[in-house]
Amino acid sequence: MPELTSEPKQESVADKATTTPGSIFDDVESKLRAASDENTLTLWADIRAAFDEGGPSDVKAVIEDRVKHSILAAEKDLKQVRSVTKSATPKKKAPAKKVAASKRVVKK
């Protein structure tokens, strides 16, 4: 082989082709797998897919979607809490309503 075959210091790109199209993110992923929990790995998988699909803006969109989802779910729950609080909170006293009273006639 010509001089281009000098030993590279990184993994061969061609080798990566046997798994997924070789990516600089493979190294990040292997490090995350070694040190992170399942949640982080799932998040990374989503982020990586978004980046491959549409770049940084899609990554932001993925995270914003998650935030939005959490906010919506939490707000919905808090709305119910507020509703319960409202129903449990004493209302301002309204003017007394006329109660249907007996209409018997007493002879004087």
């Binding site: 281009l4 790109v13 990040v28 998040l43 940084p56 507020r82 129903s87 449990a88 909170t89």
Partner: protein, 730 residues
């Protein structure tokens, strides 16, 4: 796989960017020079290679969503087609890519040396296996684009760092890091917002639970006071009471013919209020229907009218009688009341007569008085001065005095008394006339009113009634009406007793309903509050989820940062010797004869990024300085070429060619010669494709190489045909 790398053998293209009509270029195994003035289509041809291999152009801004900038605007079918042949020991691999204007998709067909033909996604995978490198790495290892050189030559550190990031293959990591850093704040903001909202909502709920608990206790106490035991405070009791109420209402409706609909029993505690409202409405309808309000009102009105007529008749009867009596009395005093005026007139005549008598008597009095005065003064006179008759003076005087004091004065006084008497009589007559007139007027008015009252009274009665019998008849009528009212009242009292039963049931029902509602609210509020041992609420789960997301982003960002830094350092370290060697040869600087690149971490806008410091060294006295501050643009261009050519040797892939787009920018003849020397040295092992407008570089290549070791392709361009190959040699 072949031990020989793939070399570019042939390119056929039409309708791609500056290429309109078909062109066909075969490439030399060692060196091919595409020589032409600016704007003749060199970059289009080099771009066609890039596009055929990867389906995109790195530095070409997109015109629209369908990337129509790729298609030549004058091409007859508005279709870009590029076919390249790659050759190795195994044979020729052919890649054809086609794209129509206005269409997003490109079609790619890969024919492998084995004869296998791949299309669609399969073609892309086959292509990747064939080339052995990504699009980004293609730019680092194969294609030295003008933009890559330009980035290194800039004075702006951020742009230079970006360019070097691209060259060292960490651009994606840097972009990923920016995206992650930009996403941290929204997550933190959302967390803060939700935590605040959740705390506030929980605090309020806690307060409300306390209040509702008090109300719940109070409602239970009130229910107990109303005789409801704790076991009765259930919805079953509500249903039972509602059934009772419905039964009673149905009886009342039947008895009174009230048009009320069947009431549905409440389905839950919340339905009690609605049910209660409907029961009240039903009671209202029953009362209205039973009372026959219009009839009752008429009876009351009738009683009032009879009563009023009776009173009026009695009052007017009295007044008429009184007036009559007064007139009688007046008549008794003054006689015929019609002659009162005449009586007055004759009395006035009498007054006049007595007045005149008094005047006459006054004259007589004065004469007698004068005579007396004369007689008393004329004591000598013995005869009458008038008639001369002898006068007996003393006797005359005595007689005159007696006449004066006795007769005359007595007559005057009598006349005066009579006058006064008559004048009083006149006053009495005046008063009598006035009284008579008033009484007569009253008599008439009362008579009219009486007549009208009688007429009204007759209207209130049935049948003919005489004037005298009117009062009695009205009295009877009134009594009859009162009896009717009494009967109605008895019925109503009976009904109201039944309604009272309903109302009592309803009161108990409402009390239970109130308690049940409070109980439900209390239970719900208490359950929403949860207990401290478990974070059961969705809001808390979402806060936890966001917290995990924040931690995850931070962890990923840390790993990406570390990776970007490590990768860049490794790349620089790995290429450093080759960069130094190429720099020495290319630049041949008389003093700064070496170059070193170091990578440091720098935080920019909250994002940790790589900062590349390119320092030039002097081996003679070991002094060094920043390259950008000491080297000329041409020398910096040599630095860029050194970095690129060194990295091209660094990566392992399957392509055996490099593409240089206008590499001699800013270089003088000496530097160009150095570049040609390096490329000539590489050419036997590495196919070199150069696009240049530099005739000097062109000549240097031609003169430095054996004729059989290169192809020279001269290009022209016209608006109609696009790029065309006009001359070939070499």
């Amino acid at each position: 796989m072949s031990s020989q790398k793939l070399r570019l053998a042939r390119l056929r293209a039409e309708g791609f960017r500056g290429i309109c009509d078909p062109i066909d270029i075969d490439f030399h195994e060692q060196t091919t020079v595409l020589s032409a003035p600016n704007g003749s289509g060199k970059t289009s041809i080099l771009g066609a290679i890039e596009w055929a291999l990867f389906g995109e152009l790195k530095y070409q801004p997109k015109e629209n969503a369908t990337n129509d900038e790729l298609v030549n605007i004058r091409h007859r079918t508005q279709t870009a087609t590029v076919t390249i042949d790659l050759k190795d020991d195994d044979g020729i691999a052919s890649i054809t890519r086609t794209k129509k204007a206005g269409k997003r998709a490109t079609e790619v067909i890969v024919r492998l040396p084995s004869g296998e033909e791949c299309v669609g996604p399969e073609a892309n995978s086959a292509l990747f296996r064939l080339l052995g490198l990504t699009f980004d790495d293609f730019y680092r290892a194969v294609y030295l684009h003008q933009e890559s050189i330009r980035g290194l030559l800039t004075d702006e550190p951020r742009v230079r760092n970006d360019a070097l990031d691209r060259l060292f293959g960490v651009e994606k990591l840097r972009n990923m890091l920016k995206a992650l850093s930009g996403s941290t704040k929204p997550v933190r903001d959302a967390l803060n917002k939700l935590e605040t909202s959740e705390t506030r909502a929980t605090d309020k709920l806690t307060g409300a639970v306390g209040v509702v608990q008090e109300q719940w206790q109070h409602a239970r106490d009130e229910a107990e006071k109303k005789g409801l035991s704790e076991s009765e405070l259930t919805f079953t009791t509500v249903t039972k009471l509602a059934q009772e109420v419905n039964g009673n209402l149905a009886k009342l409706a039947e008895a009174t013919s009230a048009p009320i609909k069947d009431l549905l029993e409440p389905e839950d505690a919340d339905g009690v209020d609605t049910y209660s409202r409907r029961v009240n409405e039903a009671i209202k309808v029953i009362r209205l229907t039973a009372t026959n309000a219009a009839s009752a009102a008429n009876t009351a009105k009738e009683i009032a009218s009879v009563d009023g007529a009776l009173t009026t008749l009695q009052r007017l009867s009295g007044l008429v009688g009184d007036t009559k009596e007064n007139l009688k009395e007046l008549q008794a005093t003054y006689g015929d009341l019609g002659t009162l005026a005449e009586q007055k007139k004759s009395t006035e005549v009498e007054v006049q007569r007595y007045r005149e008598a008094q005047e006459r008597l006054g004259i007589s009095e004065r004469i007698v008085q004068d005579t007396l005065t004369y007689m008393e003064a004329s004591t000598d006179e013995t005869n009458c001065p008038a008639c001369g008759q002898e006068i007996k003076r003393d006797g005359l005087i005595a007689r005159l005095e007696g006449h004066l004091t006795g007769e005359i004065r007595g007559e005057i006084e009598a006349a005066h008394s009579a006058e006064i008497e008559r004048r009083q009589k006149i006053g009495d007559l005046d008063a009598a006339i006035t009284k008579r007139d008033r009484l007569l007027k009253d008599q008439k008015e009362y008579a009219d009113q009486f007549s009208e009252a009688k007429s009204i009274a007759r209207n209130l009665l049935i049948g003919e009634v005489s004037d005298d019998g009117l009062t009695e008849a009205l009295g009877v009528q009134k009594e009859k009406l009162l009896q009717q009212t009494e009967i109605v009242d008895v019925e109503r009292n009976k009904r109201e007793e039944e309604i009272d039963t309903v109302l009592t049931s309803m009161e108990r029902l409402r009390e239970i309903g109130r308690f049940l509602k409070l109980d439900a609210t209390f239970q719900e509020a208490s359950s929403r509050l949860g207990n401290d041992d478990e974070d059961s609420s969705v809001a808390k789960q979402q806060i936890e989820s966001l917290s995990i997301l924040e931690d995850g982003i931070r962890t990923i960002a840390d790993v990406v940062t570390a990776n970007a830094s490590t990768r860049a350092r490794n790349e620089v370290d790995g290429a450093q010797v080759e960069i130094s060697r190429l720099y020495k040869e290319l630049c041949n600087h008389p003093y700064f004869d070496d170059i070193q690149i170091s990578v440091e971490s720098k935080v920019l806008s909250g994002v940790e990024s790589n900062e590349y410091l390119i320092r030039t060294n002097s081996s003679t006295d070991s002094r060094h300085t920043l390259a950008s501050s000491r080297l000329s643009t041409a020398q910096m261009n040599c630095v860029a070429l050194s970095v690129y050519l060194a990295l091209a040797s660094q990566l392992q892939h399957n392509l055996g060619f490099v593409i240089l787009d206008d590499p001699s920018q800013n270089l003088d003849t000496e530097h160009k010669q150095a570049l040609v020397n390096i490329l000539s040295r590489k050419a036997p092992q590495l196919q070199v494709i150069i696009g240049t407008q530099d005739s000097e570089l062109d000549e240097l290549i031609v003169s430095s190489a054996a004729k059989e070791s290169f192809h020279r392709r001269r290009l022209t361009w016209s608006p109609i045909t696009g790029s065309a190959v006009v001359a070939e040699d070499g």
